[in-house]
Amino acid sequence: MMAEPTSTTDVWVSGTEAPEVSEWMVAGTDEGAQEMERDETIERGVEQRGARVVDDWVVDDTVDDEERMIVNMGPQHPSTHGVLRLNIELEGEIVRRVKPIIGYLHTGMEKTAETLTYLQGGTNVTRMDYLAPLQNELCYSLAVEKLLGVEIPPRAQAIRILMTELNRVSSHLVATATNGMDIGALSMMMYGFRERELILAFFEKTTGLRMNHNYIRPGGVAADLPDGWEEDVAEILERIPRAMADYEDLLKENPIWIGRTRGVGIITADECLAYGVTGPTLRAAGVPWDLRKAQPYSGIEAYDFDVVTGSRGDVYDRYRVRIGEMHQSLRIVEQVAAAMPRGDYKTGDRKVSPPPRQRIDESMEALIHHFKIYTEGFKVPAGETYVAIEAPRGELGCYLVSDGSGAPLRMHTRAPSFSNLQALPIMMADSLVADTVACIASLDPVMGDVDR
């Protein structure tokens, strides 16, 4: 799938030395995972690795107070990708300690979820990670369905995979675009959003909305794919890889880009695991962990794709991993579109799914049934469960507790951005202040996901 390496800066060399990780990690990479070459000479990386897995937010008395300066970055800084505030302790140009301060976008969505029925819950969770709304809906729906124990028809599962993988591409496009913008590659910003528009237009055609779709619901999806969806998907599959070749021309071997990203914001595999960091950040550190492979959902195990990993865990590797994942997601989309099963787009289980429209016209019972499902909602058996899927930012989990009524007793979202943000002090410790925005952008935090 990848082009042959053309120069020494090309990192897509398979068969090079494996990352220095445990045996089982290496064993997991043979499913076509691409490893990048290792560069042992990054002194600054070694220095940063000195930031071991401890919270070092303590005052160091050996430094004179006059040399130390505490700078507040945000919550309105354009490069913090939302309302993130960072307390940064500087010694000259060197960042010594960072403390993320969050909560500016907290809207109590977990509390709201307790007042909504299971069917309404999708409108709530879709607003958490607003760049990956479909993944949020899918995770929530899977948790509800696990408690309900309902069967999801193959077409609904395939539509879910099609939509969530397209969502992963659109989310990674934003991540790459804003990463470019923050480091000064302004045209990357235009390109990324231009291509994202293609996918959002398809989402609008399918779901009615560009974001906050409430399309994936417990029991299936809200509507079937629109007429002519094959042509739209074919256009996406044709135009986005072509545009991504442009990004590669722009950034991959760009010496300024490489200078600003390589060896910057390093986080090791051990640190990722200790801090609960998942997603592209973990994979860029060399761990081939992808829930789509490890704990597959919605029949994604039926499609061929590779887990893309890096080896250095720096900003450049995270950018490369995202680009690679976009190619892999498009590969999945191509396979789903080619083999879209026929059949229902939602479950036939009448406990969860309302009766078809024409039944309502002829049957009083069907009308009552329809009314009750949309007013009272359906009852979910008492129990608790945790379901996790691979969102663009990492492990997105939903912990759902039902007391047997029509609304959850507790709905908790394990937000990937929330955990990933803990890695920021590790990445930024002892780096240059100019690298701060590169680190934040490469982590790709979505504050709606962090604060919920």
């Binding site: 089982w24 696990k146 999801i152 609960g276 490890a294 608790e384 929330f418 955990s419 943000l421």
Partner: protein, 169 residues
């Protein structure tokens, strides 16, 4: 729903659960909606987490709390979700916590990533995590009164409690 299309832990041998039971005799292994769960009293939580980490659970993916007000005799339950990448399985630790003494040991010394999650649990439910390095509010403003995700915390008509709000008028 067919089992193979659901996310969830791969069914493994229960030797690991047995070894955890040996390390912490008060822990009770159980199954809940197809997942492995362990119930443990609060005093043994840290010991169980250490044993689990030694047993291959590298990552603490989530910590949260459920308020069983009016449902159970013991009001709160702390829920710790552990993930083992090498064994590809999950383990959920359930810790009942009474309302009168809402304190459990902090897992930050074992899993540094528990930091934010425990702060969130403290902020939202008022559970104290003994030994946490910086147990402060994380999502709500510092001077907020009450713990909003408790079920007796009303949803509507909360007076504005932001700092210096009166000065704006």
């Amino acid at each position: 729903m067919s089992g193979d299309s659901l996310p969830g832990p791969v069914a493994g041998s229960d030797e690991m659960l047995a070894s955890l039971g040996e390390a912490v005799p008060s822990a009770e292994a159980d199954r809940s909606t197809g997942d492995d769960v362990i119930r443990v009293p609060a005093r043994d939580l840290a010991r169980l987490a250490e044993a689990a980490r030694a047993g291959g659970f590298e990552m603490c993916s989530d910590i949260t709390v459920v308020d069983y007000l009016g449902v159970r005799r013991v009001r709160f339950e702390v829920v710790v979700n552990l993930l083992s990448l090498q064994h590809n399985r999950r383990l959920r630790i359930l810790v009942p916590v009474p309302e009168g003494d809402p304190e459990v040991p902090s897992l930050v010394p074992v899993y540094p990533g528990a930091n934010f999650m425990e702060r969130e649990a403290y902020d939202m439910f008022g559970i104290r995590f003994a030994g946490h390095p910086d147990l402060t509010r994380i999502l709500m403003p510092d001077d907020w009164v009450g713990h909003p995700l408790r079920r007796d915390f009303d949803v509507g008509a909360v007076p504005v409690q932001f700092k210096a709000a009166h000065r704006v008028r």
